[in-house]
Amino acid sequence: MSLPNPSKGWRSSSSRLLALYSFLFVAWSSILMGVLYWEVTSYLNTLARHSLMQRQQLFSRFQGAQLDDALRTSDKFDIRTVDAYGLFDNDLKPISGPVHEIPDGLKLTGEIQELDTCIDSDDPDLPRASCDAVAIHTLDNRWLILVRDNGSLFAVTTLILRALLWGVSLTIIPGAAGWHLLRRRPLKRIGAIQASAEAIVTGDLTRRLPVSDRRDELDMLADIVNAMLDRIERLMNEVKGVCDNIAHDLRTPLTRLRAQLYRIQQQSPEDSPQGEQMAQVIADADTLMARFRGLLRISELEDHQRRSAFGQLDPLPLLQELHDFYLPLAEEGGVSLQLKIAENLPRLVGDRALLFEALSNLLSNSIKFTPAGGQVLMIARAEGDTTFIEVQDTGPGIPDAERQAVFKRFYRSETGNQQSGFGLGLSIVAAIVNLHGFKLRIGSSPSGGASLVLECRQVLALG
């Protein structure tokens, strides 16, 4: 079983929070800038119109040479490119002033108008962008055109937009950097939590999730989980304690039972009818004891206590010994038992006696379920840093659906025949395999029979 990986990208909570925060900031600054822009432009607009209106009022009072003087004076003080004028005769021919042409679209009504393009001219001193303009019919029957550039408005817009752009990019760039920094630390901690959790999942219930001194949300969560684990461990120990006590309490009565049955049998005459029955009862008691010992053995192995006998071992003599041990049984059942071992197999780390026990369980099952005339094959080969020891048979095989269940205690295939067996064998194998940190895979042999593969660590692989 493996735990899901912590998300590395946008799915982490800090990333989401930061993204939301950045979005809100950008939205808020856009609104702020928008309002500012609107306020400033309408103010400047009013100002421009106002100034134009003042000039209109001023110049409409003059006429003749007076007007020409006033215009010339004004032109000196006015800022070029902002304010400009043009004086035209009644036929709209230019008389004086920098504006030589009546702007397109300007109606000769005396009303202030806003024009998109002001004056079509190459003169850099004239306003060219949008402007307010007015055409005044002077008292001496001429046309005075006054123009005031709206360019300052455009500048303000550019200014504000630029500020907005800076603001947004300054939000997004440090935001992204901050996001990267912010998510790194929690991810690191989650990595540590995951490592601990994986150890717990694989059975080390004494492990706890790491807690830092910061007492933040992650620590709170780790504390909660740790409290939960404490409770689970306590419960497991209690259950185990109860089981151990039951097991211990049963040993003596079972010993007494068997002893007394045996004594009754010894005392009764040899060929009495009870003698036969007695022998059967004793055989049953022996079966009971054997299963009981099997159960105790599994719990002993599951305690992960027996590492003391671990050492380096050469798989070859072990497999040969197994072959010799099981050959008579196989031949008895009309099954051929063969060994196929690759040369120069590296040494393994393990408990020789336990590996013998595990493999002997696999072999004994294969021989038991392979019909006469069949074949059981024991194959050993090394691949990379793993040694594969496989037991193949030509028996009925193990259906996919049952491959996990066969490790359960006392499991025996539903479809299987009435073969004898304690049904504890594969549980013992599983316990031994777990103790070694090996893997056991159940598959199909080329002939459709069962294939059980033990994946063993080699000495070198331990580094």
Partner: protein
């Protein structure tokens, strides 16, 4: 008369041990606590001790250790409710000669006691030739003959025969055979030992001759002179 000391705190178990061993013609004294057990054990009056691993007052392991430290070599069969494999190793390392975990069968226990008593007999130790009726096993050349005919034995079959013949006339259980000949301490489950005995039988007990290996129902095997 061979004297056995049984140190066992459970009265019923002790009674059964005493009854079983007495039926084998042994004199058995029973002690139900460690302190008294240790005193009796170091007295040197006994030929063998069956010792419970967990005892009130003085622990079974402490008794073995003390005895061996005092140089008392009386064979000890440790009987324990602790079946842990490490526990077995600890018991044997401390000086126990054999280890039996509860629940056990009393015939198994008796068989082990007999074998231990035989093993401690110096006469059998020095033998170079084992003989049961017309079956002979040369321990030096590792050759076996039955009625003068050489037998072709595989290494395991030789070990098996040697173990049976060293303890001729005594019941040897399947568990003892597996432990002694193969050296493992688990339950091989199926009738594996029976199959191996069957093979050996085919070689040493041909149909024309009186069989020497006898099956003791429910217990094990015995090799003995034909009655």
């Amino acid at each position: 008369m061979t004297r056995i000391l049984t140190i066992e705190d459970d009265a019923v178990t002790a009674k059964e041990i005493v009854a079983e061993l007495s039926s084998h013609g042994l004199h058995v004294d029973w002690v139900d606590n460690g302190r008294e057990g240790l005193v009796r054990a170091v007295s040197g009056d006994y030929d063998l001790i069956t010792l419970d691993r967990m005892l009130p007052e003085v622990d079974g392991l402490a008794i073995v250790t003390t005895m061996r430290a005092l140089g008392i070599a009386t064979p000890i069969l440790m009987i324990s409710a602790l079946s842990d494999v490490d526990e077995r190793v600890r018991g044997l390392r401390a000086g126990g000669d054999d280890y039996l975990s509860k629940p056990f069968a009393s015939d198994e226990m008796a068989a082990r006691v007999e074998v231990l008593l035989r093993r401690s007999n110096p006469v059998t130790q020095a033998e170079t030739m084992l003989k049961v009726a017309d079956l002979e096993l040369n321990l030096i050349t590792r050759e076996a003959t039955r009625a003068g005919q050489p037998l072709n034995l595989l290494p395991t079959e030789y070990k098996l025969l040697e173990f049976l013949m060293r303890n001729s006339g005594q019941i040897i259980t399947r568990m003892m055979i597996f432990e002694e000949v193969w050296g493992y301490h688990f339950d091989p489950g199926t009738n594996l030992i029976d199959v191996h005995i069957g093979r050996l039988r085919k070689k040493i007990d041909p149909p024309t001759l009186t069989p020497l290996i006898r099956t003791v129902r429910g217990s094990g095997y015995v090799i003995a002179e034909p009655v």
